[in-house]
Structure formats: structure tokens, C-alpha cells
Symmetry: C2
Subunit: 329 residues, 2 copies
């Protein structure tokens, strides 16, 4: 099986590539070739695979997608996007990359489909940013997409196109609405959602972190480990069981900031918790109040997608996957 990952230099994309290169397979199918593409050259993962190609390209450039499709990958993971903050700040860049880049990819598949019947599995990284407040207490699978950012709008359009191209048999798509990823590895960034990860990651490293919102704030999370499993599972499932509604809210954990902190206390200890500094920020509180508190993800759970059921698991996943099992505090 030939596999293409677009957006393979990103946080999830790189971990997905590492995992596939290490396993040499997805489920019970051997991977014969892995192509990793991103706007910067993706890191080359270690592993048992002979054929790993890395490519640097801008998917929104005219004709960029065709060469990626030339060898007819069986599975395409499409994670390339510019993030929410940048898509909001730069209108044209956001639409060019997140909308046109995605549509160009689908249309490159369509051209190949028209040529020889090529119909790859295409797994599209969407986001809970497709939802916009006001929400019910738990967002059901049939809740309207009313995004409140250009990024969410672009992801929602990517979902609609994916469903229509799948319905027409041009590709075999699955869209995954990812929860907020926590604990997000790496350094703190300026995303409004950053604190959810910062208040766990930095203390586990013996460093201070700022908490800008009250402990009662509730949001919806999955670990990077769970996210990788979503993508691998989506590559394998029987899409006949999915039907025409190809975009699925992924399962996750609905939890408050207070519950995050309690898990940190239980797993790592009071010393880590003491590194969290309260510094209320009205702007961040306002932004976060527009985010989904809980998502039912009924269909995805029925289709076998799994996520963590406690913050203890999320903290342990970070310790194991990023810190070799031991906190540095």
C-alpha cells in the first residue's frame, strides 16, 4: 500500500509519519511506499520502510497536487493547513491554502479518477473549529456548522467538498473533526488555546506556566496519541458503514481546567501544580467561552474511534510519548 501524508512536518503529521514508518504497515496492510509532503521539507522518520520520500511544496501553488497523485497513493492523509490565528490575520493566505489547496488536491484526484478510475481513501483533518457558539451542553452529530473564524469556515467547506466528491465516487473520504489536542508537545505558542497544554507540559518540565482563565472553564480534548489512532483507524474502516455523512466529530474528553490540574497533581505531584501561575486574561476568556464544551461523537464511537476517558490518561500519554516516562520536576 502506498501512503501520502500532506502536512507531514506538522505536529500530528510528523508523528503519524513516524508511526507508519516504525510499523511498516497500517492495520493488516503493509506499506510499500511513504511520501511525506509539506511546505517545508518534512523530517525523515526512522523505521523499517525502504521507500520514504520527502517533498517540500506549497499545495496551493498551481499544479502542486498532480505530482503527488502521479504514483496513485492508496491512502492520502491531508493535514496541510495554516492555523486559525494566521488564517484570521491573513484572509487571502487562509483561503488560498486551506480552501483552494484542499480543492486542488481533490481535483487532482478527480483528474486521475477520470483517467483510470483511481479512487483513494482520503483522510481529511478537520477541526471542532467548524462549530460556533451558542452550543447545547453536548454537541450532537447532526449539529449545524456555524464557524466563527475563517479557519473554521475553510475546514467546513473542505468537509462539504469531501462529502460531495465521495458521494460521486471520485474519492473515498473521511473527515475527522479533531478535538483540541492536549498535551500539545513543543514550546508554548501564542494560540489562545495554548494554555490548556502549557499548564501541564511546562510544569512537567519544571517550568512555570500561565493560566489565564478560571478553573471552571470546560473544553474538549484528545491526546496526540489518540489523534494518530484516529487517522490510522480512518485509513482502514469500511466506508460503506459510514454512509454519505463522511465528516465525523472525533471522540474526546470533556473536562474542566480544574480537572486537568487535579490529574497533574495525582500523576506528577503538588510541586508541578505550584508552577501554574494564575494571570486572568479577559481576551482569552472571551475567545474560549465561544468554544465547544462537549461533543457526543456518537457515530465515531460506534465506528470504533477511541479517545481518552480521563485527564490522568492524557497526562500519562505525554509523559510516556514525550518525556520517556518521567517528569522533570
Amino acid at each position: 500500500m502506498k501512503v501520502l501524508i500532506i502536512g507531514a512536518a506538522g505536529m500530528i503529521g510528523a508523528r503519524l509519519a513516524t508511526r507508519i514508518a516504525a510499523d511498516g504497515r497500517i492495520g493488516d496492510r503493509d506499506v510499500s511506499e511513504l511520501v511525506l509532503a509539506d511546505v517545508v521539507e518534512p523530517p525523515r522518520p526512522f523505521g523499517t520502510l525502504d521507500r520514504v520520500d520527502t517533498r517540500a511544496l506549497d499545495i496551493s501553488a498551481p499544479g502542486a497536487a498532480e505530482p503527488l497523485i502521479a504514483n496513485r497513493p492508496d491512502v492520502i492523509f491531508h493535514l496541510a493547513a495554516i492555523v486559525s490565528g494566521e488564517a484570521e490575520a491573513d484572509f487571502e493566505k487562509g483561503y488560498r491554502i486551506n480552501l483552494d489547496g484542499t480543492r486542488d488536491l481533490y481535483d487532482a484526484v478527480r483528474a486521475a479518477h477520470d483517467e483510470d478510475g483511481y479512487t483513494p481513501r482520503l483522510v481529511f483533518a478537520s477541526s471542532i473549529a467548524v462549530f460556533g457558539a451558542p452550543f447545547p451542553a453536548v454537541i450532537p452529530d447532526d449539529f449545524a456548522l456555524t464557524p466563527l473564524t475563517s479557519y473554521g469556515t475553510q475546514k467546513a467547506i473542505g468537509e462539504l467538498l469531501l462529502a460531495d466528491y465521495s458521494r460521486r465516487g471520485i474519492l473515498d473520504g473521511i473527515g475527522l473533526r479533531l478535538p483540541t489536542i492536549c498535551v500539545r508537545p513543543g514550546r508554548p505558542n501564542k494560540a489562545a488555546s495554548g494554555f490548556f497544554s502549557n499548564i501541564l507540559r511546562e510544569p512537567m518540565n519544571g517550568e512555570e506556566a500561565v493560566l489565564p482563565v478560571p478553573e471552571e472553564v470546560r473544553h474538549f480534548f484528545a491526546s496526540p496519541r489518540a489523534a494518530i489512532e484516529f487517522f490510522l483507524h480512518a485509513a482502514q474502516i469500511d466506508t460503506a458503514a459510514v454512509g454519505p455523512r463522511r465528516n465525523l466529530s472525533m471522540p474526546g474528553l470533556s473536562a474542566t481546567v480544574g480537572e486537568e490540574i487535579e490529574a497533574l497533581r495525582r500523576i506528577v505531584g503538588e510541586k508541578a501544580v505550584k508552577l501554574i501561575r494564575r494571570e486572568p486574561d479577559e481576551t482569552i476568556m472571551r475567545i474560549v467561552s465561544g468554544w465547544a464544551p462537549d461533543i457526543a461523537a456518537t457515530r465515531a464511537r460506534e465506528l470504533g474511534f477511541r479517545a481518552e476517558s480521563s485527564f490522568d490518561e492524557i497526562v500519562r500519554a505525554h509523559l510516556e510519548d514525550e518525556l520517556g516516562g518521567t517528569a522533570r520536576v
Copy 2:
């Protein structure tokens, strides 16, 4: 006030143009200029307006929208689209006109907005084709858009773009999800939905009509007269009261085919009903079973949009607006 209607040669667009030209105003604002555009030269309406321009152009042609925006219309009615059947049969044409044509229009407004702060009211004709089965008994305002046609997909994307461009203050948009229009004037056409109108319109003209589905089939309707009022009302409402969810399911009448026929019997008589010939068609029954039976339209009703509450009203509207008040049977 300057008014632009794109799609002014269509069934609703032409009637909207006629109405505005006759009134010389929308609500309490005088119309100083009316520009009518369509892919074929729109008919020139009679009326009191001095300045009525008609233009033939393809809105999906590069640069087509700019000249329409050059004089900065205060209100833009965007009804141009190729219909469901054609968008399904011709993939590229559907996406080019219904998606790219709409986006080009919004982007022409954006260019003008960037130049001088221009922010027109833009009323977009969407459709209940944005919904896809399975449905609840009554579709609520926050129900997911999961279209089962490329036309519905293109309309749903037009809605998402309208909301995002409005949220950014580029334009002041309102999207109207129109119910199935009944009684649709003109000759019978091959649309799967055609029979809903045919079984009223043809008998009122003393002609036979074919009914391909059982009388129990339920669907959601508004008259052409109600649709015109939706557009005029949308041009005037205070969008601050609408908020960020700019796309509204319009009110209508949920009724069965049997209720249609009973109204025809009451208003026109048994002689008309006898002209309906039962000819079951499995294909049409299958298509129609995927259509919305009822839509709550709670927000639109709260915002003052009104439709008929019985099929008697719909039959009478057709008699008055199209037949001078008297059936020809």
C-alpha cells in the same frame, strides 16, 4: 438606493425585478437605479423607475462581477445558479457557476470594500437542498447541512462564505434557504419536484397532469409571492438582530400531496382534480423520499419572514398572480 439583481431572468429574479420596478421602492427607501443581470438578457420590467439597466453576462467568467459592483449597489440580490439537475449532470459547470461565480461576486465586493469601505446588503438565494436525509420530523434551525447533491453542496458553501465575509464586515449578508416553490409558473419541467406544481397548475389551465407519488408524501412549500416577500424583507431587516448565523431557513407550509389536491378541489373544483392522472414512478418516489418534510424556521419567523399557512392560500396566490383570478377549467 441602488439595487442589483443577479439572476434576474429566472423565475424568482424576474418577478422580484417586476415588483421593485412597479413599487419604485423597497420598504420605505426609494430605488434610484435597478440593474438586472443574467446569463441571458433579463426582461425589462414596466414601472415607475427611470433607471433600469439590463445586462447579459456569465458571472463565472473572469472579472465578470467587477463591473456590476462599479456603481456600488446598496442592495445585491444574488439568485444566479444552475439548477440541481444540471449541476448534478455537469460537475464542472455546477462548481464553476454555483461556487466560483458566487465566490467571485463576494470577492469583487471585498475588493471594493478594501478600496472605499463599501459594505452592501447581499441577499443570497440558498435552498433547502442544503439539507440531506435522514431528517427529524421537523428540521430545527441548528440542523447540520449534509447535502446529497452537488447543487446543495454548492449552496451550503455559498452560505458558509456569506457568513464569514459578513462576520469580517466585508458585506452584510443574509442567506435565504427557500422552500420548494409552489405553484411554480410556466410549463412543466423535468425537475423531480415538478409534479408538486404540475398537479395544481396544469388542471387550473384545463390540462392533464401526472402524479408520480402517493398522496401521503409530505414536503415543504412556499408560493412565488411569499418568496418575493422573503427577498424584499431580507433587504430591509436589521442584521444586528440576525447575529453571526446569517443563513436562515425560510418559513413555509408543510403539507402532503393529498392536502394539495384537497385545496385544488375546494378552490377550483372537482373538474380540476379529475385532470390529475396517477402514474407511480419509483425513481421520483426514491428522490422525493430524501427531501425535507417540515422545517421549523423559528428564527426566520421571529425576524418577521412570513409564508402561507394553508394550500388554499397557495392556490389562490397562483390564481391571482398568474391567471388573473380565474381558473381555465
